[in-house]
Amino acid sequence: MHISLRRLLHNRVELLLTFVVPIAFFSVFALIFGKGIGSGTTPKVKVVVVDEIQSPVSTAIVDSLRDSAGLRLMHDEADDQALTSDKASEMVRHGSVTIAIVLKGDQADAIRAELLADASDQVAGQVVSALVGRELVLAKTRQASRTRQAAAMRQTTVRRPPVDASPVRPSGEIAESLSDPSELVQIVDVIGEDKANPVVSMYAAGIAVMFLLFGATGGGGVLLDERENTTLDRLLSTELTMDQLLLGKWFYLTALGFVQVCVMFLWGQFAFGVDLQGHLDGFVMMTLVTSSAAAAFGLFLATLCKTRGQLNGLSVILILTMSALGGSMVPRYVMSERMRELGLWTFNAWALDGYDKVFWRDLPVEALSPQLAVLMIAAVAFLLVARALAIRWEFD
């Protein structure tokens, strides 16, 4: 025991992994859940409202929804009025908003709501459904109350005493008697409804990106092994240059990562029905760019560290944190706005957004431009920094 303790105290990396990593990791999750769904301050859901009724009552509902603490209306009033159900559905499909609230009237003049939802966000649908249902019931209650008051006024005017008038009931009872909120609100999944196993592709992407990063840092670590056992010295005494060496490793890690993700998605298609063939173009583009960025990141970390031990410690901390923030472990929609913004500094968030567009939203490859651009820029930047850091290994 004494020897084990002494050895632990001499090994800074092991100390870091033993005590600092759990704290860092716990802190990330505490931030995600503490300021997200766990704190009671659910992040605001991005919505648009389509008012197909355009009555004073429906307008009042829209106004109430606009003031709701749980919603963020993404269009101003004028736009909302111009918005059609199809256009709103398209916005949900593109990910501009999470849910489109379509207010509809029926033959009995009751206002009902259709929520055009993105089922990948499993929380938002329930939250918005509850909020809209409440507003609809309240509106109906107000309307019923006004109707009764008008009737009473008419009866007072003709001075006829009420014969079978019901006693006044609390508004809650009125609401219950009028309708159940769940009957007034219908959730329509506009993206995942025709998919065989829609959520699996999301998780496949999350896991794939995390393992791409682990694989790339492990592969980059070979550079440190070569340095430690002097093979790097020998390689650089041949005709091989550091540029060739780093590019060679980058190409290799990119190719390996690409094959790794392909194998994973092929298995996903075979075992879980992920529609890989139907999204091949977008998948190839995203996987190629994500693999190249992960490979460059792995080389950057390797050149940043002095020893393999350092790399192991640093990569575990960074990759687990990035995966937690970027949505590989916990869906980003449960995170607070701030955490989501923070997540945009990670690979995972951009890569997962791209895969989400490909597999979930069925968007054309042109829609992947922001994700592809960010990941490509990251790849080039990390590769350049890695090259700059590797200068110290070229000559003493």
């Binding site: 056992n229 002097t230 093979t231 010295d233 020998r234 390689l235 650089l236 005494s237 041949t238 005709e239 091989l240 000559f395 003493d396």
Partner: protein
């Protein structure tokens, strides 16, 4: 263009500083074409720094290195050099053949020639039957042979070996030097650093001794012996009982009389210039004083003596 008359390596006033530490303090020497040169020195003398500078792995602070008459960073200079590092710089998780192919490619051996060179290397190292085995499972001697082969696949004209036989058994060492002799016979110049002084003495044409970043001796073994300890032999005589008083050896001819031995010891040591003339009077003097000689050793001067004479007996690390 390669100058036919230029030496294989020409090092002039080579200096290398690591911050305040002066690893090389103006090293000058020449390695002739086809020559086998042993580079000796205590730990920390600057041998590895020198090898690294020659292999282009460290930038000298000052001085020049010429390879076959051309500056070290000129085109072709790197191709003319073959480095065999002290550590086993191999991929243990590759087979012998895969290692050889990899380093052959890195050394720029043309694709059409690579297969032949790898076949030659497998034959040369005696590892043809282990070509498909992972290097990680090899003995130290086998790894050393692969390590050597990987550095010479491109037929370098100058081979730099940094302690190529460290940690191997006498049989493997013998094999490695036989392999080096083959390369030397084919025209390669060899520069090796070693702590095995017997290797340096037997396997090199010339010896350079480096200490504290400077060349302190350069020459053949005979030249070094003559200029340092001389050709006198060390004679050690064990007697049957402790010496009561030093023994006086009478002079004769050009030799003066002298005293040997220390009272209380059973071993008498002395140096004599001419064994044929001086040994007999010495032994007679011992017997005359009443002592019986139980054992005797005569040591010729060796590189070991030269080395200790030049670098001292103090530990360096």
């Amino acid at each position: 263009m390669i100058h036919a008359e230029a030496p294989a390596l020409e090092i002039v006033n080579l200096r290398k500083n690591y911050r305040r530490l002066e690893a090389l303090r103006g090293v000058d020497f020449v390695l002739e074409r086809g020559e086998r040169l042993a580079f000796l020195g205590p730990n920390g003398a600057g041998k590895t720094t020198l090898i690294r500078a020659l292999a282009g792995r460290t930038r000298p602070t000052a001085g020049t290195i010429k390879v076959l008459g051309h500056p070290i960073h000129s085109i072709g200079a790197r191709q003319a050099l073959g480095l065999v590092p002290q550590d086993l710089a191999l991929y243990g998780d590759l087979t012998t053949r895969e290692n050889l192919f990899a380093f052959g490619k890195f050394h720029g051996v043309p694709r059409r020639e690579l297969k032949k060179r790898v076949a030659w290397a497998l034959d040369w190292t005696g590892l043809k039957d282990r070509a498909g085995d992972l290097v990680a499972g090899f003995s130290g001697g086998m790894k050393r042979r692969v390590n050597l082969a990987c550095g010479v696949l491109h037929r370098p004209k100058i081979i730099l070996l940094d302690e190529p036989t460290v940690g191997v058994d006498p049989q493997s060492r013998q094999r490695i030097f036989t392999m080096l002799d083959q390369l030397n016979e084919e025209g390669a110049s060899i520069l090796l650093t070693t702590h095995h002084l017997d290797e340096a003495e037997q396997r090199s044409d010339r010896i350079v001794i480096l200490d504290q970043g400077r060349v302190i001796a350069d020459g053949t073994i005979d030249e070094l012996v003559l200029s340092t300890v001389g050709h006198s032999r060390l004679v050690k005589v064990r007697i049957d009982r402790p010496l009561v008083a030093p023994v006086t050896v009478p002079g004769g001819g050009s030799v003066r009389s002298y005293q040997v031995g220390i009272a209380g010891r059973e071993m008498i040591e002395t140096r004599i210039e001419d064994v044929a003339v001086e040994l007999a009077p010495f032994l007679q003097a011992v017997r005359k004083d009443g002592y019986m000689v139980s054992d005797m050793e005569v040591h010729a001067p060796s590189l070991h003596h030269v080395f200790l004479h030049l670098t001292g007996n103090e530990l360096r690390d």
